[in-house]
C-alpha cells in the first residue's frame, strides 16, 4: 500500500494553509496553490476529507476536558486537596476547612451531572441526616453549594471501607460481629429519628484505623434513587461483568426494595443481615449473574442458613441473621434497637470466647490474613521518602496508614512473600547471562537473610520473565505479593542496575530506582538495593540491621564473579555443569582462598556427584566434600550454605546428631532458602525428627513451588511420615513425588516399604520391582547413602519393609 505520509512536509504545510482558509474557499485555494501538481492536491483533499472521520478524537478530548475539569482549587470555604474517590454522580475530596482548621471529606455533586432538582433533594436529605450525631454514623458538618455544584462536608475517616477490607480476605468472626454490632447501633440511632439509610452495603461502611465502624451516606440514597433506578433499568439485562457496580448495590437490597414497595427501618435490617451473612460465610447470599436475577433471588430465593456454610458459627448468630433475612418485614426485628442489643450480646460472647476463629474458611485465593497485609502496607507507607507511591494517596479512601503491628508472625512463611524475577540482562554478551542471574540470585539471598518475608526461591521465580506485564498472574502463581523486577547491564567497567518493587496485587510500584556504579562497587550496590527493598517492606529498618545475617563477602570481586558462575552451573544439576561449577569455584578460591562460600560450593559439587552417581570414587568424593565443607564453616561461620554442605557431609558419614546440628544451624542462618530447608528437612526426616522435618519441607514447598527438585522435597515429606510410622501418609506423598517424576527410584522404594508395612505386599512387590528396574545398580537398601545417617529404628523399619516387598517381587535382598 502506498505510504500515507508521502511528501509529508509539503502536504502538511499546504494543509495548514488550507485549514486557515474559510471552508468555502479551500477548494479554490488548493486549485491555485497546487497548480500543476495533481498529486499534491489530491493528497491534501484526502486529508481534509479524512479529518471528518476522526471526530471521535475530538469527542474524547472535549468531553473529557469539558465535563471533567480539574477540580476548582476551592469550593465554598473548603480548599480541595485530593480526590478520595467517586461514587455515582458524586466525587469525594479530601478538603481543608481553613475556618476551623480541620480536614473534611467533601462530597461534591455537580448540577450539570444530576440536574438542579436532584441537587436540591440531595441537600434536603443531607440536612436531615446532619441532625444525626452518633459515633457509628459519619457526621455531616455542613451543606452548601458553590460554582454550580452542591457539596456536603463530612467527617473525614482515616481508614478504609468494609468492602475494601472484605476484598482482601475474611475478617475474624469476632471482629466481623463487632463491626456489625456497631453498624446496628448507628442504624438504630438513625431509625429512632425516622431516618433510613436505604443503601446499606459494605462500600458505605467505613472502618476507621482504630476499629470504629461508621456508616456513610445516610439518607442520600433516597434523593439519588431515581438516578439509581434508571441506571438499574438500563443495565439489568446485562451479564454480571458489565454491571458490577450496579450489582454491588442491588445485592444488598431488601425484598420490598427489589419489588419497589414502600420501605421502613426493617429494610435496612435486611441489608445488614445480608452483610452479616457475607461476613460470616464469605458468600454474598443473593448475588447472581445479573441484576435481574439478583433482584429475583432477593424476592423469592431461600438461602441456606449461614452455619451450613460455616459450621463453627454460633447458633445465636445464625438465628439473628436468619431473622434479618426474613422475606416478610413483619418477621424481622420489631426495632433496630433490639437487633443492635442482640448483636452486641453475641459480640461480647465472642470476645470472651478464646476460640473465636476466622469467620469463614479462607478460600485458597484469600489465604493471607488481613492484618498481616495491613501490616505490610503500613510498613511500606511509613518507610520514608522513597515511598511516595503510597503516601498522600490521592484517590483511595485510605488516607493514613494504620498503626503498624510488629511483623513477627509465628510462621514467617505465612507472610506476604516477595519474589525476585530474573533481572533482564541488557549486556551485549550473552555470556553475561550468568552475571545477571548471579546478581538476581544474590539479591534473593540478601533479601532472605533479613528474615522478614518469605523470599521465593529463584528456581521458581526465574521461570518468569521480568518483563512480564501480567504481574498479578505471576504473583499469584508464585504465591508472592511483592515482586522485584529490573535489568542489569555490565559495560565499560560499570554496572547499571534498574530495579523496582511492585505490589502485584495492586500493580503499584512501591519503589523504583536506577543505579550506575563502577563495577567494583557491585557488592555494596547489591546490599544497598537489598536494603532499600527491605526498608520498603519493613516498618523498622534499624531492627532489620540488627538481625541481618553478617555476610563475609570476598574482598576480591573477581572471586565473587567466579563463584556466581559456579552457583549458576551448580543449579543446573547436569554432570557437565557440575564439573564447570567445580572449576569456577576453584578459580574463585585461587583468587580468594579465604572465601567461605566458594568452599561450600566446591563441597556441594561433590555432593551432587555422590547423590547422582557421578563420582568416580565415592570415598574420595566424600573426603573432599567433608574437608571443603569444614573449611567453609571455619571461614564463614555465618554462612547458611556452609553449614548446609557440612550437614550433607555428616549425613553421608552417618553422624546423625552432628548432621542435625549442622542443618539446624543452616536453617537458623537462612530460614527462607528452599534449598537449605529441603535438604535439612530430608536429613531430619531420616534422622527421626519427623515433625520438624515436615515443617521445613512444607515451607520449602511454599517458597519454591516450582522447584526443579520438588519431587525430592515431596519425597522428603514421605520419608518424614514414614519415620513417624504414618505409612498411609508416606505412601500418599511418595505418589505425589512420583507424579512429578515417575523415574525417581528412591520414591518407588519408599512406596514399596510403605505398602509392605501397610500389609499390601503384592503392590509393594510391584513397586520394588519398578524401583529396581529404574536403578538396577542400587542395593536393596536403596539410597543406602541416604540412609547412612538415618535413625537406626527408622532405617530398620525401612529395610524390613523392603525385604517384605522383595519377598513378593523376586528381587534379591541385599
Amino acid at each position: 500500500m502506498e505510504d500515507p505520509y508521502h511528501r509529508f512536509q509539503e502536504v502538511d504545510d499546504l494543509l495548514r494553509r488550507a485549514l486557515d482558509q474559510p471552508a468555502s474557499e479551500r477548494s479554490s485555494f488548493l486549485a491555485e496553490a497546487c497548480r500543476g501538481d495533481a498529486e499534491l492536491r489530491l493528497a491534501v483533499e484526502r486529508l481534509l476529507e479524512a479529518s471528518d472521520d476522526n471526530s471521535f478524537l475530538d469527542r474524547a478530548a472535549d468531553e473529557s476536558a469539558a465535563c471533567q475539569r480539574a477540580p476548582a482549587a476551592s469550593l465554598g470555604p473548603y480548599r480541595l486537596d485530593s480526590l478520595l474517590g467517586r461514587g455515582g454522580a458524586a466525587r469525594v475530596f479530601r478538603a481543608h476547612d481553613a475556618r476551623l482548621g480541620r480536614d473534611v471529606a467533601l462530597k461534591v455533586v455537580s448540577e450539570s451531572d444530576v440536574g438542579r432538582s436532584q441537587v436540591e433533594r440531595l441537600q434536603t436529605e443531607a440536612r436531615s441526616a446532619s441532625s444525626l450525631n452518633h459515633p457509628n454514623v459519619v457526621t455531616v458538618y455542613d451543606i452548601g453549594s458553590d460554582q454550580g455544584a452542591a457539596y456536603i462536608a463530612m467527617e473525614l475517616i482515616e481508614g478504609r471501607s468494609l468492602a475494601e477490607h472484605v476484598a482482601e480476605g475474611p475478617l475474624p468472626l469476632d471482629q466481623a460481629v463487632d463491626l456489625a454490632a456497631q453498624v446496628a447501633r448507628g442504624l438504630a440511632a438513625a431509625h429512632a429519628r425516622g431516618i433510613l439509610h436505604r443503601d446499606l452495603k459494605p462500600g458505605n461502611i467505613m472502618i476507621s484505623d482504630d476499629g470504629l465502624a461508621k456508616i456513610v451516606d445516610f439518607g442520600l440514597a433516597k434523593s439519588l434513587a431515581p438516578l439509581e433506578a434508571e441506571t438499574v433499568a438500563k443495565t439489568v439485562a446485562r451479564p454480571v461483568t458489565a454491571t458490577g457496580a450496579i450489582l454491588g448495590t442491588v445485592a444488598y437490597m431488601s425484598p420490598e426494595q427489589a419489588a419497589g414497595r414502600p420501605l421502613d427501618s426493617r429494610s435496612d435490617q435486611f441489608s445488614l443481615g445480608t452483610i452479616l451473612y457475607e461476613l460470616s460465610t464469605g458468600i454474598r447470599p443473593f448475588a447472581r449473574p445479573s441484576a435481574v436475577e439478583t433482584l429475583a433471588a432477593i424476592v423469592s430465593d431461600e438461602i441456606p442458613p449461614p452455619n451450613e456454610l460455616s459450621p463453627a458459627l454460633p447458633l445465636r448468630l445464625t438465628r439473628l441473621v436468619g431473622r434479618c433475612l426474613e422475606k416478610d418485614p413483619a418477621k424481622r426485628f420489631e426495632s433496630t434497637e433490639e437487633l443492635a442489643s442482640e448483636l452486641a450480646a453475641i459480640a461480647a460472647e465472642l470476645a470472651g470466647s478464646p476460640e473465636a476463629g476466622p469467620a469463614a474458611p479462607p478460600p485458597a485465593a484469600r489465604r493471607r490474613p488481613l492484618l498481616r497485609i495491613v501490616a505490610a502496607v503500613a510498613a511500606v507507607a511509613t518507610a520514608g521518602g522513597l515511598l511516595w507511591g503510597l503516601r498522600d494517596r490521592v484517590s483511595e479512601a485510605v488516607s493514613a496508614a494504620p498503626a503498624a503491628p510488629p511483623v513477627t508472625a509465628s510462621d514467617p512463611a505465612e507472610r506476604p512473600a516477595i519474589a525476585v524475577l530474573p533481572l533482564e540482562n541488557l549486556g551485549s554478551d550473552p555470556e553475561d547471562r550468568y552475571f545477571s542471574d548471579g546478581v538476581s540470585e544474590d539479591l534473593v539471598d540478601r533479601l532472605s537473610s533479613w528474615r522478614m518475608f518469605p523470599v521465593i526461591s529463584h528456581f521458581s521465580s526465574f521461570a518468569y520473565d521480568s518483563r512480564s506485564s501480567d504481574l498479578r498472574a505471576v504473583g499469584r502463581r508464585l504465591g508472592a505479593r511483592y515482586l522485584v523486577q529490573g535489568s542489569v547491564r555490565r559495560a565499560d567497567g560499570r554496572v547499571r542496575i534498574a530495579a523496582r518493587l511492585v505490589d502485584s496485587e495492586t500493580g503499584s510500584v512501591l519503589w523504583s530506582d536506577r543505579f550506575d556504579r563502577p563495577y567494583a562497587d557491585l557488592l555494596a550496590l547489591q546490599d544497598e538495593i537489598g536494603e532499600t527493598i527491605v526498608g520498603a517492606l519493613h516498618p523498622r529498618l534499624e531492627e532489620a540491621d540488627q538481625i541481618r545475617a553478617a555476610r563475609a563477602d570476598p574482598a576480591d570481586l573477581r572471586a565473587w564473579d567466579w563463584s556466581q558462575r559456579g552457583w549458576w552451573h551448580w543449579n543446573r544439576l547436569t554432570q557437565r555443569d557440575t564439573e564447570l561449577a567445580r572449576e569456577a569455584f576453584s578459580k574463585a578460591l585461587e583468587l580468594a582462598p579465604g572465601f567461605g562460600e566458594a568452599h561450600a560450593g566446591l563441597a556441594l559439587t561433590h555432593y551432587v556427584d555422590l547423590a547422582l552417581g557421578w563420582a568416580d570414587s565415592e570415598g574420595q568424593a566424600m573426603d573432599v566434600l567433608e574437608e571443603a565443607a569444614r573449611r567453609a564453616v571455619s571461614l564463614d561461620r555465618e554462612s547458611a550454605v556452609a553449614h548446609h554442605a557440612l550437614g550433607h557431609a555428616l549425613a553421608l558419614r552417618g553422624r546423625r546428631q552432628e548432621m542435625i546440628a549442622a542443618f539446624h544451624r543452616s536453617i537458623e542462618l537462612n530460614p527462607m532458602s528452599a534449598l537449605v530447608l529441603s535438604c535439612a528437612g530430608e536429613g531430619m526426616a531420616l534422622g527421626g525428627e519427623a515433625e520438624e522435618a515436615i515443617v521445613y519441607l512444607e515451607r520449602a514447598i511454599r517458597l519454591s513451588p516450582q522447584d526443579p527438585a520438588l519431587h525430592i522435597i515431596l519425597h522428603g515429606v514421605a520419608l518424614a511420615h514414614f519415620a513417624a510410622q504414618r505409612y498411609d501418609q508416606s505412601l500418599a506423598w511418595a505418589f505425589r513425588a512420583l507424579e512429578l517424576d515417575p523415574t525417581f527410584a528412591w520414591a518407588h522404594r519408599t512406596r514399596a516399604a510403605s505398602l509392605a508395612l501397610l500389609g499390601r505386599l503384592d503392590e509393594a512387590g510391584t513397586a520394588l520391582a519398578e524401583a529396581t528396574a529404574l536403578d538396577p545398580g542400587s542395593s536393596l537398601a536403596g539410597g543406602g547413602r541416604g540412609l547412612a545417617a538415618a535413625d537406626p529404628a527408622v532405617a530398620t523399619r525401612y529395610l524390613e519393609g523392603l525385604r517384605a516387598a522383595g519377598s513378593r517381587s523376586g528381587v534379591a535382598g541385599g
Binding site: 505520509y5 472521520d53 478524537l57 471533567q68 475539569r69 457496580a245 521518602g385
Partner: protein, 192 residues
C-alpha cells in the same frame, strides 16, 4: 524524513526519544495506580477521566522536590506521555484478555477497565501516532496531550508557547493524518 520542528519544546528531544526519566516513571506509576482504582469506580458508559487524572497527579507531584518538575508545562507534557502509555498498556492488556490469552485472569476490574475506552481504537491511534511522530513529533505531541491526556487547546498552547489558534490548526492536521492512516485499505478496483 525528519521534521524541522525539533526545537518546539525545551524538552522536545527528551519527549521524542522517551529518554529514561525518573519523573516519567514516577508519573506513569502513579497514573496507572490511580487509573486502576478510578476504573473500578466508573459507571457503565462513563469515560475514564484522563483529564482529572493528569491534573490531580500534578497537585501531588508539584510538592515532590526530589523529582524534577521544571514547570507545570513540563509536568503536563510528561504526564501526557505517561497517560498515553497507561492507556496503551490497558488497551493491550484488555485486547489480550479479550482474545482469550489468560482468561483465568479476567477479573471484574479488568473488564470494567474497558468502559469508556474503545480498546481497539486506542491501539489503532497509538500505531498511527507512532508513524506520525516520525514525520512530526510536534503533531504527535499534540495528539498525546489532546486525545490521551484530555488537555485543552489552551493548555497545549501554553506548553508550546503559541496561540490557541495555532494549536487548533495543528490539531486538525494531526487528526487528518491519523484518520488517513487509520482508514482501512481501499478495496482493489474490481477486475472487469
Amino acid at each position: 524524513m525528519n521534521g524541522t520542528d525539533d526545537d518546539w519544546l525545551p524538552f522536545a528531544a527528551e519527549w521524542r526519544d522517551g529518554l529514561p526519566d525518573r519523573l516519567f516513571d514516577a508519573v506513569y506509576a502513579e497514573l496507572k495506580r490511580v487509573a486502576r482504582s478510578q476504573l473500578r469506580r466508573l459507571r457503565p458508559g462513563q469515560l475514564m477521566d484522563t483529564t482529572s487524572l493528569v491534573h490531580e497527579t500534578y497537585f501531588k507531584f508539584e510538592r515532590q522536590s526530589d523529582l524534577e518538575v521544571r514547570s507545570r508545562e513540563h509536568f503536563l507534557a510528561v504526564a501526557a506521555r505517561a497517560m498515553h502509555q497507561v492507556l496503551v498498556d490497558y488497551a493491550r492488556r484488555t485486547h489480550r484478555l479479550k482474545r482469550g490469552g489468560g482468561g483465568e485472569d479476567l477479573q471484574l476490574d479488568e473488564t470494567l477497565s474497558l468502559r469508556g475506552i474503545d480498546v481497539d481504537r486506542v491501539l489503532d491511534v497509538d500505531r498511527a501516532l507512532r508513524r506520525l511522530a516520525e514525520h512530526s513529533s510536534r503533531q504527535a505531541f499534540i495528539v498525546q496531550c489532546r486525545f490521551f491526556a484530555g488537555l485543552t487547546e489552551e493548555e497545549v498552547a501554553a506548553m508550546l508557547d503559541v496561540s490557541s489558534r495555532t494549536v487548533r490548526n495543528e490539531w486538525a492536521r494531526a487528526k487528518a493524518w491519523l484518520a488517513l492512516a487509520m482508514r482501512p485499505p481501499e478495496p482493489p478496483p474490481e477486475a472487469t
